[in-house]
Amino acid sequence: MSINKENVRNFCIVAHIDHGKSTLADRLMEKTGQVSERDMEEQLLDSMDLERERGITIKLTPVRMFYKAKNGKEYVFNLIDTPGHVDFTYEVSRSLKACEGAILIVDATQGVQAQTLANAYLAIDNDLEIMPVINKVDLASARPDDVAMEVEEILGIEATDAPRISAKTGYNIEEVLEQIIEKVPAPKGDENAPLKALIFDSYYDNFKGVICFVRIMDGKVKIGTKIKTFMSDKQFDVTEVGVFSPKMQPKDELCAGEVGYIAASIKSIEDTAVGDTITQVENPALEPLAGYKKALPMVFSGVFPLDGSKFNDLKDALLKLKLNDAALSIEPDNSAALGFGFRCGFLGLLHMDVIQERIEREFDLDIITTAPSVSYKVYKTDGTQLVIENPTHLPPVTEIDYMEEPVINASIFTPPDYVGPIMELCQFKRGVYKDMVYLDKTRVELKYTLPLNEIIYDFFDSLKSRTKGYASFDYEIAGYQRSDLVKMDMLLNGDICDALSIIVHKDKAYERGRQIAEKLKDVIPRQMFEIPIQAAIGGKIIARETVKAFRKDVLAKCYGGDVTRKKKLLEKQKEGKKKMRSIGTVEIPSEAFISILKTDNDR
């Protein structure tokens, strides 16, 4: 069955977090009969446990729907869901490449928010047709007409006829479907031209090998087609093609304009990079499609197996995750304290959190994550320059001329009441004030330049707690700036624990040293001997705490009937110890490494 391109619409939905993206997607599927109301599990596209629990979309998920329009024709809709969080902007841009149009959801009570802007601009950059939809009109505080005006004013997108809907109740969803046909262009592309398929996502299936999620731009592909990619020379025979409904459903062939998947017994994860173009071996396309801008990881952290013998398992897990998460960077790392592991780069803290949880849940591995760091530029006295992502790689102070740290341009949107507390917070985080704009009576945009290493700790949390959750935050990297930075080491029982070293601004070293020492004192259990915990810069101790030795752990009585009981007790204690890591003579629970993150409390 060949599909008439004229009747295909490829689109995505973009929105600020919590404006109803996944709910609208569910509703569209329901209305097109893709899933019955009865089978409907809340938020079908968010299939990862993690996504459902946190109410966020992390991975993109494509789905194919059929819609019989009022004009009597039947259409094929390919919806590609996208993540909403700022950390996942990169994933959004990937799905945009596979579409011709984007539904921009705006919350009728909240109006245009930081991510509305960011995602709308991203869609515009990718030449997509934007179709605004005003959601949550069922709420008492909805002001759809104001919001439509806002969209026109701020984004310059025509919004007077934007559908006013409630994704929650299903109100006016047909209007959205009709407008998709009207506003989103049909895909272009030539079925008879050589195959060009953009890989926008992929994952590893234990039976079928790598499954590539593709948008066919030109040509067609079916079982038996010999294919190759532009970045790798290897050839593969296609074993299966199909579409998403939303589960994978095999088909005979995929043609230009369609969205679907290709399996070709590709065994190695490295052979198919997201963003690469698939073509046929015979009569191949000459040029690849424009790929993606490589996402730059901003936050770096050491990831180590709790059990050193699981190094290879961790490696496999990271490689599998990297397969469909190009933003994750992996490099082997070696710590005196933690042994062999990886230095991983993440888009942000949420991304890091998500990867960490996926390793633990999907691969059943216990890991230790060290405090995150950013990448610093080190200018040495001998005129050379280094980029350091791991504090332990910092050269001796005597060899350093000066250092630079990455800074961001932050836009913070907030009701005017919270301007004071936010300015205080930004100042505390070494921010430099740039501008303040009243967007309207209820919203102010504050602009700051902030060092990235201040943001990666608890900036989001502090911002939320200071504004009762009203403020939102967006940022872009603004390059590097010279800064007075020092490496601070933590000593446990006199030995430096490299996994706890951090790079910190000189003015904040004392305070952070004290906080981390205090925190470690709380998380390190008492042991048979006293453990001094010291923070040091160079050879100079700047803070000290002590974990006192414990005095008693013996079972008072151990007679005939107590032997078995005592053994069980010791087994339990031993089990608890497995969660610990020996650093020199000191045993440290794995959460200690990350807990030092959470010291930067709001004074």
Binding site: M528, K552, A556, C558, E571
Partner: protein, 369 residues
């Protein structure tokens, strides 16, 4: 050489910290219970015919609350059914206020030669708070009845607001009573006991405070000529408890009665904790055991290490290597590298250093495989 333990699950009233199998309201069942005990003794003797008995220990509960003839009967039954050495150590636990001249006379007649008295503390308010049945004066009277005998006293530390001075005075009282052996137990609040509530409310001494008291009393007892031969046990020269030493040497023992545990021919087993269940099992010739494990390999090695390191005699590595056909130093290389600084090695003997005996779990569990 093996020991025999006889459990007497009766007492006058429950102490607030007690989680042993002891049932004050069941005292009326004492006669039927002992009838079953005699039968179990006979049965165990048939089951394990070639054991030579070196020690007998009658514990509880409070064995001295039951008719002394029942106790005497149990000892006679043991002697009848097993080969008991002439110089065997035969101990009975008793509480002040539960014995008189007659009882003691009968005990001695059947060969009981060691008396372990539950003193706990020399302060009457504390005794009352623990729901003990006696006073400090009762203790001295009891000792008076036992003049010239081998007496041991149990002392508790970690009680409500207890000070080192109080514990030293308690020791003084025990010495005045003529004891040559003292057990100093840190109170262990068990879930389900009344004192657990006090523990939850922070009314008992903390572990640190208890450790301070322990260190103080250890020094005091040393001054008085008592050697610490195990974590909680102190004795004048020649007065160690042979029965208990057997446990720590991982020697064999047969336990009879409710809740009694045995370790014979490599098997550990424990009887039911319920009196009725026990009586019914024995009457109908069924096993009263509720658990049974054969201990082998590294598990057995671990027991040996764990038990031996509680004592000042320590672990004899040469014997260990012979028993288990291993090379201890090689087998436990990593543990020794990590924890040797808390231990001492003299010839073949490995011990935990004095100052770490009270925090030994941390060392011992490293030996667990």
């Amino acid at each position: 050489m093996a020991g025999i333990y006889i459990h007497v699950p009766f007492c006058k009233q429950k102490c607030t910290y007690c989680d042993f199998a002891s049932y004050p309201r069941e005292l009326s069942k004492a006669e039927s219970y002992f009838a079953c005990l005699y039968r179990e003794i006979q049965g165990r003797a048939k089951q394990y015919p070639n054991k030579i008995i070196d020690t007998v220990y009658i514990g509880g509960g409070t064995p001295s609350v039951v008719d002394a003839n029942l106790i005497a009967g149990a000892i006679r039954q043991v002697k009848k059914c097993f080969t008991v050495k002439k110089d065997a150590e035969i101990t009975i636990e008793l509480n002040p206020g539960t014995v008189d001249e007659q009882k003691i006379k009968l005990y001695k007649q059947v060969g009981i030669n060691r008396f372990s008295i539950g003193l706990q503390t020399g302060f009457d308010e504390q005794l009352k708070k623990l729901n003990r049945i006696h006073t400090a004066k009762d203790f001295l009277q009891c000792c008076n009845l036992l003049k010239g005998e081998n007496i041991s006293a149990d002392v508790l530390i970690g009680l409500h607001d207890q000070t080192l001075e109080q514990v030293k005075k308690t020791v003084d009282l025990a010495l005045a009573g003529g004891v040559s052996h003292i057990s100093v137990y840190a109170l262990t609040p068990e879930v389900g006991t009344p004192i657990y509530t006090d523990y939850l409310n922070g009314e008992l001494l903390s572990d640190d405070e208890t450790a301070d008291v322990y260190d103080g009393v250890r020094a005091y007892l040393k001054e008085k000529g008592f050697e610490r031969y195990e974590v909680s046990n102190f004795a004048k020269a020649g007065f160690r408890s042979r029965h208990n030493m057997n446990y720590w040497k991982r020697g064999e023992y047969i336990g009879v009665g409710v809740s009694a545990s045995s370790f014979v021919d490599g098997r550990r087993f424990t009887n039911t904790f319920k009196i009725d269940e026990y009586i019914n099992a024995v009457i109908y010739n069924k096993s009263p055991e509720i658990s049974s494990d054969v201990i082998e390999g590294s598990d057995a090695q671990f027991e040996q290490i764990m038990l031996a390191l509680r004592t000042s005699d320590g672990l004899n590595i040469k014997e260990f290597n012979q028993n288990f056909s291993v090379d201890f130093d090689n087998e436990y290389k990593e543990v020794l590298a990590k924890k040797m600084r808390f231990m001492e090695r003299k010839g073949d003997i490995l011990t935990i250093k004095d100052e770490y005996l009270y925090v030994q779990n941390d060392i011992i569990l490293e030996f667990m495989k």
